[in-house]
């Protein structure tokens, strides 16, 4: 059969529509915007507009590419340092979420079947309140004359208010709080499918429950751990709102640097370049983890 014939056959079988819809979605809302951002990152900022990449002289097009933005990113330590600090906070958030989320998901998966939907609903419940409101609520809890400090002072646990706001502590709390459900849900999905007979067999053969957990449950839930970690890590790197509201001057993340390029410096091409580098930074760990998962599925 020729390729063309096969192609037309797939058309009739409706495959094209099934694949075409998500492909069109991807092209329109991911690939094209990304290309536009890359294009802007290679142009220059004029007073109140972005320079044109292709200019026409005597009917001939001249292509002007400007790579200086990328050079600048790697020549100024600010950007590299901020990328590193963004990845650091995203990693810390991911690890804490995993530490809290795993036992959470584990007990949810082991809970009686009829109350599991309720437990799931409880995880979702906070999302009925606006994200901004929930972050702002942390502010009222953590400030020096806030709920926690006032309570501790009235109980005479502390004499002076604790400094919990606008530093890495408040930032980490806000990030972990916001992203925890994204860790729990894939882990729960995975753990609830765990075949309990493996554990019974292990117990029959004399393995302690603790050892069985590390030898059986954890390796089998690897796919859930990877999925949850990606769901937390990727958005956490570029997070802007939480560091703005709960972070302090010492917790600079790349989202704020992007804001400064775009708004304070009024330099759209530079802002675009910073964003492109950030996407590249996220794609690398994602590709590694994705490959690890693909191997897992083959096995």
């Amino acid at each position: 059969m020729t390729k063309l014939a096969r192609f037309s056959q797939s058309l009739t079988s409706g495959k094209l529509i099934v694949i075409g819809v998500p492909m069109a979605w991807f092209l329109l809302l991911v690939a094209i915007p990304l290309l536009i951002i890359m294009k802007i990152s290679l142009s220059e900022m004029e007073a109140t507009s972005v320079s044109k990449m292709i200019s026409w002289t005597n009917g001939l097009p001249t292509l002007k590419l400007n790579f200086s933005n990328y050079q600048f990113i790697f020549s100024d330590a600010l950007y590299v340092k901020t990328y590193i600090s963004s990845i650091k906070y995203a990693l810390i958030t991911t690890l804490i979420c995993l530490g809290i989320g795993y036992p959470f998901a584990y007990f949810m998966a082991r809970a009686p079947k009829h109350i599991q939907p309720t437990l799931l609903m409880l995880i979702m419940l906070p999302f009925w309140t606006s994200f901004l409101l929930r972050i702002y609520a942390w502010k009222t809890l953590l400030v020096s004359n806030g709920v926690i400090n006032n309570l501790l002072m009235s109980l005479h646990v502390i004499n002076a208010p604790l400094d919990m706001m606008n530093n890495s502590f408040s930032l980490t709390i806000g990030m972990v709080y916001s992203y925890l459900p994204f860790m729990i849900l894939p882990l729960y999905a995975n753990l609830s499918k765990l075949d309990l007979r493996y554990l019974e067999a292990a117990a029959d053969l004399g393995t302690s429950p603790f050892k069985a957990f590390w030898l059986i449950t954890v390796p089998l839930s690897k796919a859930g751990i990877i999925a949850g970690s990606m769901l937390v890590f990727i958005p956490a790197v570029g997070e802007y709102v939480i560091p703005e509201l709960l972070g302090g001057p010492s917790t600079l993340m790349i989202g704020r640097v992007l804001w400064d390029e775009f708004f304070s410096n009024n330099d759209w091409p530079m802002a675009a370049a910073v964003a492109v580098v950030m996407i590249a930074l996220i794609l690398v760990p994602m590709a590694i983890l994705n490959r690890a998962e693909a191997k897992l599925e083959e096995a």
């Binding site: 109140t48 600010l78 606006s130 859930g224 001057p249 410096n265 998962e293």
Partner: protein, 398 residues
């Protein structure tokens, strides 16, 4: 995303995840909702292309600073003219400027500070005013007009809404306690720029504006350099001075100083005089025990005027002129000052301003104090980058 489609996950979970993402997306999107709505409705109006001489539809879209309006300003205008007003707010020039550059803001009146307004005029984003439609123009104070004309020659584009200046605001009692037997400094700016004072005031909290373009002119003058210098070394000198007080600064923000002062979270702020008076007014109204005061400095602060302007692509320029003329009415302009404790540029309005505000020498400055202020100015894009870069480094303290 491949990791979502692994065979272990149940379909219900996928649905829930999708929901989760959907909801988060929605909440974030809804922050910008208000603005988009009005912009959209302005775009789709049938009369959008109506000639300026013809009758415009009765709609006016305004984009102004937060906390900057009297309760009756808009309702009275709507009653008087039958024009329906959509009023959106912002809290930084940077945000307004980015919208202006992207064009099609959908707004008929925007209120940039005059130095940003100048950039927008130069970029062709603001249209000339038709003064024949502004009979109340005669109310404007010639000295303020002259100040503004330095950026907008002939006063052809910008009309001052209200004005104030950047200065030091303090919580009088807390500062006195923190300083102990130390007297107040000769130069008030020492309170925020001299480690001798900041190291003591650290205990009750120092806050600075999160706006390099407003702090640097003052810091430059403090280290005896030109306020709008284009020389990188001058900015380095100001930066070195700032870094010495960095360990003592608690917070950098612009919108939250009113709340922070009024609630006693900070005791010294480098910020807007108008906001300090507003914080004072609020803490009196709330019967909180904080005694807030704006200080007038001999060295001078940075004067800023927030100016009304009509974007070039405004759909309702006639209504915009009507609104500007309405604001310039003596009673309306006085109402604004009474509500938000910022000075107005309206000579005829003075008699309608409440006496305690009119006689407040930190709101309506004496002629000599006005002369001491740094008039609004501007720097080029390259220098702006230096400012932002150094200020970021200053904030992180490394």
């Amino acid at each position: 995303m491949r990791f979502l489609s692994n065979k272990h996950s149940a379909p219900t979970i996928k649905l829930m995840l999708a929901l989760l993402f959907g909801i988060t997306g929605l909440t974030i999107a809804s922050c910008g909702q208000k603005t988009e709505d009005s912009a959209k409705s302005a775009d789709t109006t049938p009369n959008a292309a109506a000639p300026a001489t013809g009758e415009e539809e009765k709609i006016l879209n305004i984009y102004n600073w937060s906390d900057y309006l009297a309760e009756d300003t808009i309702p009275n205008f709507e009653k008087e003219t039958g024009i329906k007003v959509r009023y959106d707010i912002f809290d930084s020039n940077e945000i307004l400027h980015a919208k202006m550059i992207a064009k099609n803001t959908g707004y008929d009146i925007v209120v940039p500070s005059s130095n940003w307004g100048k950039m927008q005029i130069d970029g062709g984003l603001i249209q000339k005013l038709d003064k024949s439609k502004l009979p109340n123009w005669k109310n404007l104070d010639p000295t303020v007009l002259a100040q503004l004309a330095q950026l907008d020659p002939g006063n052809e584009h910008l009309v001052d809404w209200l004005w104030s200046y950047t200065t030091v605001g303090i919580n009088v009692d807390k500062v006195k306690t923190a300083l102990g037997d130390m007297p107040m400094p000769e130069n008030t700016w020492d309170l925020v720029f001299d480690p001798k004072y900041t190291s003591k005031l650290k205990s009750c909290g120092i806050s600075m504006l999160d706006a390099p373009s407003e702090v640097f002119p003052i810091a430059l003058r403090y280290v005896h350099k030109p306020e709008f210098s284009l020389v990188e070394a001058d900015y380095k000198a100001a930066f070195d001075m700032l870094m010495k007080v960095r360990p003592d600064i608690k917070r950098f923000n612009s919108g939250g100083q009113i709340e922070d002062l009024a609630s006693g979270n900070i005791c010294v702020a480098l910020g807007w005089a108008g906001d300090f008076n507003l914080a004072r007014k609020r803490s009196i109204e709330n019967k909180s025990e904080q005694n807030i005061e704006a200080l007038v400095t001999k060295m001078g602060g940075y004067m800023f005027m927030d100016t009304m302007a009509i974007p070039t692509d405004a759909k309702h320029p006639n209504n915009a002129h009507k609104f500007i003329n309405y604001v310039l009415d003596a009673k309306v302009h006085a109402g604004l000052t009474n509500a938000v404790t910022y000075a107005n540029p309206n000579k005829a309005a003075t008699e309608f301003v409440n006496p305690e505000i009119r006689n407040n020498k930190t709101i309506f400055l004496s002629d000599e104090d006005v002369k001491n202020l740094i008039p609004p100015g501007n720097v080029d894009n390259a220098t702006r980058r230096i400012e932002t870069r150094l200020y970021t480094q200053f904030k992180t303290g490394t």
